[in-house]
């Protein structure tokens, strides 16, 4: 089956099988290992990527559903000059990860949140992010990082 979609801003065309998930295509066929697989039942959020700007669990989202759409993965956030996305930088600044296995999915979910709501309250962050599990941090620094990223993105917009 022919699969063509926009991936991190560039057109991609590959052969895949009908039953392949988006995560399998990304990891096994495109060597994009940033998208992590954990629960495989759409509970933990580690495999979160954006399809047309909305977060999906790549572990259960069939690759063919992404045909003709825009897929954004963790590999697509860094600018070509190596500057990190404000969310990535905020995760470093706030120590918002430990083992780092949930981090790509966590950052993609946070991006979807901030793209939709540039000034979320703490409750809104908690509500939106509830589909992403982190076993290391106790979530406290992640909430801080998302708030910090929101502030940074607002500053970037103003300047």
């Amino acid at each position: 089956m022919n699969l063509s979609f926009q991936l991190n801003g560039k057109p991609f065309e590959i052969e895949g099988e009908e039953q392949e998930t988006l995560a399998e295509v990304l990891r096994n066929r495109l060597n994009l290992n940033g998208t992590k697989i954990s629960c495989e039942v759409q509970v933990c959020g580690a495999c979160t990527v954006l399809v047309d700007g909305l977060p999906v669990s790549a572990c259960t989202y069939l690759a063919y559903e992404a045909r003709g759409k825009n897929v954004t993965t963790i590999e697509g956030l860094e600018k070509p000059d190596g500057t990190l996305h404000p969310i990535q930088q905020a995760f470093i600044d706030e120590f918002a990860f430990q083992c780092g296995f949930c981090t790509p999915g966590m950052i993609m979910a946070a991006k979807a949140l901030l793209d939709e709501n540039s000034k979320p309250t703490e409750d809104e962050i908690i509500h939106y992010m509830d589909g992403n599990i982190c076993r290391c941090t106790g979530y406290v620094p992640i909430v801080k990082a998302i708030r910090r990223a929101a502030d940074e993105m607002a500053k970037e917009k103003r300047s």
Partner: protein, 759 residues
């Protein structure tokens, strides 16, 4: 070691950003699950549907005939290997041999060209079982006519880690027992002014490291090379050496980033199986478990504890006695050590003159239990810290004041024969109490708790390291400590940079490759900062000593004339930085100096434990009496860490551990219905999520430089978990007047307890 009071630290004691930050936020951090070797095959595992059964026959011919299948392994075709492994007790076959001992046990493995082919072939393996009566709890295991789960006698593993004799396989279902006794318990209870007594249950829990177990093995005439998500590569090496009967030098374990461990990736898991697959298939093989399979691989020991504690008329604790039955599951794994540790940890950080603890772990037909963050401490701190509150209430004392009065004091040998207490519990408790507003009035339906734990931590002090200082003044640190997320790749370079006086960014870390990095016994028991940190400090100093001699040679002066300054040396007017020392010595801008350090049970580390791991937690919660649901209002952690090499990382460990402890207190529990695990999926096993965050969180560190680690550091990262389930139970009692003696305190359990109180 007397800690130097150095208020002018340049690099340590600063929250420098994580060294693995950039790779982890960009998705470029490599975990074993991301690795692929050229020509690699894939394995999948067939698991037993029965908890206890004889394997009558296995026919693999249909599976082997399938296209793309390289081979099928069973317990019947492992000739040439020593298939039983175990660092503590060699009771664990890499595939079931003759019988299965738990539902989910690996019975066969298919190696195929890809994962799907391997998976599809599993259903073509024909296994005939003859069911045996399963034994599921310690109570069933100790019955007189209970079926024996293990019939044969076992060798002790070479790195067993516990003190007693191996009990396993000696004609009962007891896996290990441990006893502790001092004073005269019977007399003390007779003379006591007040006694509390009760039975408690601590559940089976699953660590849920988000990266499930994964390993790649390459077995050839050259030896065994394994990429694994193991916490303790050197311990796994030892098991592999024994399975393949090879010299240590022919076994290589490589561990890249690990996606969470929390003890669940301690010791050997799937490595013998994947290595056997590679050996049989004659090519490299990857075995990636799913989370559901990981849940069938390791869990924590659940524990049934009877405990009583007594005070005298002055409110001084005079005696504690406990009897613990732990459920070890089908194989010993690290449970013998968990038994020993949980026995010791019953004493808590209190000075108690009369103690008797009798602890037994039992084999059952359930998933094997092993290490879990805190090593048996949480299991016994639920009863221990519950009884402190129960006893305080009984004698009309404030539980916080009662703790202050009985807590072990700095320097006190509160545990006979062990290292004197190296924490400041009074200070810790005061901070925790203040953080949750202990003395302030409580709203209706709310309760508070302040609790603590003290663990004999640090495991065994055997650690070595090397630091290579290069001719440009940068350095590489060779460490066998594994980066699990705890931040060792940040903390260890901080120590080297502090000693060498060079920027922390100029220190690289090479880690956890047993062929390259010097021996480190384990990455667990909160030991890395203390032991590896101390080794890094000493290795850096040894490198400096060598460079001082080199500088004397270069400057043609006596060694005594060389003075060490930040980042180099001085002699009179002449100053040389490390780069100049090395370059001038070798007369080339190249070459290096290797500093080394070896730590063993001697000197500062002669007395165990390496340190007492001490922490307090404070909670305030509210209970919805209609539904039994608990809402966490406040959480405070106080880590008594000696010195935080990186305060942000130390606090991160505390909040992470406290959150896991909160999960056990509120909802985490593996549930068996008969012989089957019924919630063996993340759909059904409830872990804390964003919405479970306590409304207010405070993190505190106490830094008195009273540890034997570098600059007086001690370990942290487990202790904040240990007291949380008891703390939650204590706060629920204060909120509702109902005492619940089992975790987790699910809404149903709380609701039932409230209903029973009313009727």
């Amino acid at each position: 070691m007397t800690a130097e009071k150095k208020p002018d630290f340049q690099v340590v004691n600063h929250s420098v950003p994580r060294r693995d930050g950039r790779v982890k936020v960009t998705g470029r951090a490599t975990f074993v699950s991301d690795l692929r070797l050229i020509g690699m095959a894939y394995a999948k595992v067939l698991r037993s549907p029965y908890a206890h059964a004889k394997i009558v026959s296995i026919d693999t011919s249909r599976a082997e005939a399938r296209r793309g299948v390289y081979c099928v392994l069973t317990g019947n075709n492992l000739e040439g290997l020593n298939p039983y492994y175990g660092h503590a007790v060699k009771d664990h076959p890499l595939l079931a041999i003759e019988k299965v001992r738990y539902a989910g046990e690996p019975v066969a493995a298919v190696v195929a060209v890809d994962e799907r082919t391997a998976f599809e072939a599993l259903e073509y393996i024909d296994v005939k079982y003859e069911e045996l009566k399963p034994v599921l709890t310690p109570q069933e295991a100790m019955e007189k006519d209970a079926p024996l789960i293990h019939q044969r006698k076992f060798e002790a593993g070479a790195l067993r880690g516990f003190e007693g004799e191996v009990t396993a396989g000696k004609g009962t279902n007891i896996c290990q027992e441990h006893h502790l006794k001092w004073g005269d318990v019977e007399k003390a209870f007779k003379e006591a002014a007040a006694v509390v007594e009760g039975e408690y249950y601590f559940p089976m829990t699953y660590a849920y490291a988000m990266e499930p177990y994964v390993a790649i093995a390459e077995v050839s005439d050259e030896g065994v090379t394994i990429y694994s998500s193991a916490q303790h590569p050197f311990m796994v090496r030892h098991d592999l050496k024994s399975v393949f009967n090879l010299p240590v030098s022919a076994v290589r374990l490589i561990v890249p980033f690990v996606g969470g461990g929390y003890g669940s990736k301690s010791y050997t898991k799937i490595e013998p199986l994947v290595a056997a697959c590679s050996w049989k298939a004659k090519r490299s093989v990857k075995l990636q478990l799913t989370v559901e399979e990981a849940m069938l691989t390791t869990r924590s020991d659940d524990a049934y504890t009877w405990m009583r504690t007594a005070v005298d008329a002055n409110g001084k604790i005079i005696a504690r006695q406990a009897r613990i039955y732990m459920n070890t599951g089908a194989y010993a794994e690290n449970s013998p050590l968990v038994v020993e540790k949980s026995t010791n940890r019953c004493v808590g950080p209190y000075a108690i003159p009369n103690v008797q603890i009798d602890n037994y772990s039992f084999y059952t037909n359930t998933v094997p239990a092993s290490s879990y963050r805190g090593f048996g401490c949480a299991q016994v701190t639920l009863p221990g810290e519950s009884q402190i509150d129960e006893l305080a209430t009984k004698i009309g004392k404030d539980p916080y004041e009662f703790r202050l009065m009985n807590a072990a004091k700095p320097g006190e040998e509160f545990f006979p024969g062990m290292r004197p207490f190296d924490g400041t519990l009074k200070e810790d408790l005061e901070i925790a109490a203040k953080a949750v507003g202990w003395k302030e009035p409580l709203e209706k339906g709310r309760g508070r708790g302040v609790a603590c734990s003290g663990s004999d931590a640090g495991a065994y002090p055997l650690t070595s390291t090397a630091i290579r200082v290069y001719a440009d003044g940068s350095a590489s640190l060779m460490t066998g400590s594994t980066e699990l997320g705890q931040g060792s790749h940040t903390v260890l370079p901080q120590i080297a940079a502090e000693e060498l006086g060079i920027p922390v960014d100029n220190v690289r870390v090479v880690s956890s490759d047993t062929a390259i990095t010097p021996y480190d016994r384990s990455t667990g028991a909160s030991r890395t900062t203390t032991l590896m940190g101390r080794a890094v400090m000493e290795a850096s100093r040894e490198a400096i000593q060598q460079m001082v001699k080199m500088a004397a040679d270069v400057l043609k002066v006596k060694v005594e004339e060389i003075q060490v300054i930040k980042g180099g040396v001085r002699c009179g007017e002449a100053q040389l930085n490390w780069s100049e020392v090395i370059s001038k010595y070798y007369a080339l801008p190249d070459g290096e100096v290797i500093g080394r350090a070896y730590i063993r049970k001697d000197g500062d580390f002669a007395k165990l434990p390496v340190f007492w791991e001490v922490a307090c937690t404070g909670v305030e919660l509210s209970v919805d009496e209609e539904t039994g649901k608990i809402q966490m209002e406040k959480l405070a952690t106080v880590g008594d860490v000696g010195l935080a090499i990186n305060p942000a990382l130390a606090e991160g460990q505390d909040i992470g551990a406290a959150t896991m402890g909160m999960g056990i207190g509120l909802f985490e529990e593996l549930v068996y219905d008969g012989p089957q695990l019924v919630n063996g999926s993340i759909l059904d096993y409830r872990v804390p999520r964003f919405s479970d965050l306590p409304k207010k969180v405070e993190l505190h560190l106490v830094q008195n430089q009273d540890g034997v680690g570098p600059y007086g550091a001690k370990g942290g990262g487990e202790a904040s978990l240990n007291s949380m389930p008891a703390n939650i139970a204590n706060a629920v009692d204060r909120a509702t007047g109902v005492r619940i003696r089992e975790a987790p305190l699910t809404p149903e359990r709380v609701w039932r307890a409230l209903r029973d109180k009313k009727t």
